[in-house]
């Protein structure tokens, strides 16, 4: 009897702890929506999402965030183009090709990259990379989409790499051995057996890496240039969503239209990352590898 009581006690204790963090998080969400939705009294959703001009402090003000959304999407995609191949290939190398000694040295270095504070990466982009790419490509300004994407790629490579590596590493040994036994080379085994077998893990890694790039604030605030316009080339300055919130929130009068508009941008950002997470969830569920027979 007593043991059951202890069991119950422990159970409800854990339930309480879990409830606490979930409640805190959902309260933040409620707050986000409470502060963001009032902007719809001033502009309708269509004008807000598809409006081309972001002049929040003008009178009358324009609250169109299409240019900001375009900035976020472009920066994230471009950083993905750089980070995904590099991240996955590094993961394959570490899990499959590198000798244990090399892997032992390289792995901690990749993880160290993940622990670099984003403000340091942003500062590096602003002070070192910007003048460099400006001279290299002979463009008017170094604070642009390309610079920000490069810095974001730096940040998402460790995430993509270490999660993919875990996925590749957990591919059953028997699959690999079977492939070798059929006469496949190491390369063929990697491309045709190991990567397909770990695809769900790799996809999750990619999406988590991209959502990190999408939500990252400091780097885009410092290195993207901050011009609220539709980019026409990768060397145009852009102003992604998080940069707008960070740069303007401090000066927006409390509960003003501008303040609500910034929270509404927060909602848009939340929706984006939420969709990313849903996709990641779906993929890891759909392509889950059960046992060794389902490949």
């Amino acid at each position: 009897m007593k043991r059951q009581h202890i069991d119950k006690g422990v159970q409800s204790g854990f339930l309480l702890v879990a409830l606490f963090s979930i409640t805190a998080l959902s309260l933040i969400m409620v707050f986000l929506f409470m502060e963001g939705l009032p902007i719809l009294e001033h502009v309708n959703i269509k004008e807000f999402i598809f409006g081309k001009y972001w002049y929040p402090t003008d009178d009358p003000a324009d609250f169109g965030i299409l240019a900001l959304i375009a900035g976020s999407v472009c920066v994230t995609l471009l950083s993905g183009l750089m980070a995904i191949p590099l991240g996955i290939m590094t993961a394959v190398y570490l899990a499959e090709i590198a000798s244990p000694r090399v892997a032992e040295i390289v792995k901690p270095i990749v993880e160290l990259m993940a622990s670099l504070p984003s403000v340091v990466i942003g500062f590096f982009g602003m002070v070192v990379v910007a003048p460099f790419i400006q001279k290299l490509f002979n463009i008017p300004v170094g604070l642009n989409m390309f610079n920000a994407s490069l810095m974001l790629a730096f940040m998402s490579i460790p995430t993509i790499c270490s999660l993919s590596e875990d996925a590749i590493f957990s591919v059953p040994r028997a699959l690999k051995e079977a492939s070798f036994a059929l006469g496949a080379t190491h390369f063929e085994t990697i491309v045709k057996v190991i990567i397909p077998a770990s695809l769900s893990g790799i996809c999750t890694a990619v999406i988590l890496g991209l959502s990190r790039a999408l939500g990252e604030t400091m780097v885009v605030l410092m290195a993207a240039g901050g011009a609220a316009m539709m980019p026409t080339s990768i060397f145009d300055p852009v102003r992604p969503l998080p940069a707008s919130i960070a740069a303007e929130m401090a000066e927006a009068p409390f509960r003003s239209e501008h303040y609500h508009a910034l929270f509404a941008i927060g909602i848009v950002l939340f929706v984006f990352t939420f969709i990313f997470n849903l996709i990641a969830d779906y993929i890891s569920y759909k392509f889950r590898q059960v046992g060794e027979a389902s490949l």
Binding site: Y53, W54, Y55, P56, T57, D58, A67, M126, V127, A130, P131, Q134, P140, V141, G142, L143, L221, G225, G226, A227, A228, M229, D236, P237, R239, A246, A247, E248, A250, E251, A252, P253, F254, S256, H258
Partner: protein
């Protein structure tokens, strides 16, 4: 009264007290442009009046005025005058904000130090920021694309720029925006074709100040009113100040306080 009620009341009491401002303690918030002045003045004032404790924080002009209206600060710093919207908000809350002009500041257009241009007119500046003038050769410089650098739309410096240079018209969307005066210095120093604007106190080596309508931005040209892009720096209080708040403001407006204004890199009133 039993023990629990007593405890309950004392907790309520503590909560109410801690959310308002203590007497003998000044809370100052607002514009980062005014912050260095407030910091120097606060140090000197606290040395003279050991019983007064001053806590300072930045956050921008909007936050300073907001803090006065909310009652979370005694003095709100602003690098611009109060906006009509803020006056209305204060009115609905029954607050009467009182402005004190404590210093002057000039906003100087700056270009990269290798740029040949030394003089622009106010109209040219406006056209550059409107995107009508796109190349340096149109303002008698060496040909090359003009990279327009501006401040975030909610900064006080931008507000003054918009009023005095843009005459309420819109800066082109393709202008780079930078979150601070220091950021502008950094960006202009690194970008050969750039133009930006900073407070007079931020002029430094990698950048070059440009004359406006033939007048160089300086302390003198700001005081005599000939430099077109200058502004007042303000401290706002909730209602007419009394006690330590009044003491602190009188101190800043004294000769000694104005010397500190100069030390902090702004322009004293006298």
């Amino acid at each position: 009264m039993n023990k629990y009620t007593e405890l309950f009341i004392s907790i309520i009491f503590l909560l109410t007290v801690s959310s308002t401002v203590f007497a003998g303690e000044l809370v100052i918030k607002g514009s980062t442009t005014v912050l260095p002045i407030a910091q120097k003045a606060a140090e000197a004032y606290m040395a003279e009046h050991p019983d007064v404790k001053i806590s300072l924080s930045g956050g921008g002009s909007g936050n300073g005025i907001k803090a006065i209206i909310d009652g979370t600060a005694n003095i709100g710093n602003a690098s611009r005058f109060i906006k009509q919207k803020e006056v209305n908000l204060a009115g609905t809350k029954g607050v009467y904000p009182v402005p004190f002009r404590i210093a002057l500041d000039a906003i100087v257009p700056v270009v990269n130090k290798n740029n040949a241009v030394t003089d622009v007119t106010l109209t040219q500046l406006k056209d550059i920021y409107l995107g009508k003038i796109k190349d340096w050769k149109e303002v008698s410089g060496t040909p090359g694309k003009i990279v327009v650098i501006s401040r975030d739309s909610s900064s006080g410096t931008f507000g003054v720029w918009k009023d005095l240079v843009m005459k309420k018209e819109r800066v082109i969307p393709s202008a780079l925006t930078v979150p601070s005066n220091g950021g502008i210095v950094q960006a202009v120093a690194n970008t050969p074709g750039a133009i930006g604007y900073v407070g007079l106190g931020y002029l430094s080596d990698g950048i070059k100040a440009v004359k406006v309508d033939g007048i160089a931005g300086s302390e003198e040209s700001t005081l005599n009113g000939s430099f077109p892009i200058s502004r007042g720096l303000f401290m706002f209080t909730k209602g007419w100040p009394t006690g330590d708040i009044m003491g602190f403001l009188s101190f800043i407006l004294s000769k000694k306080g104005q010397d500190l204004v100069k030390e902090a890199g702004s322009i004293p009133l006298f």
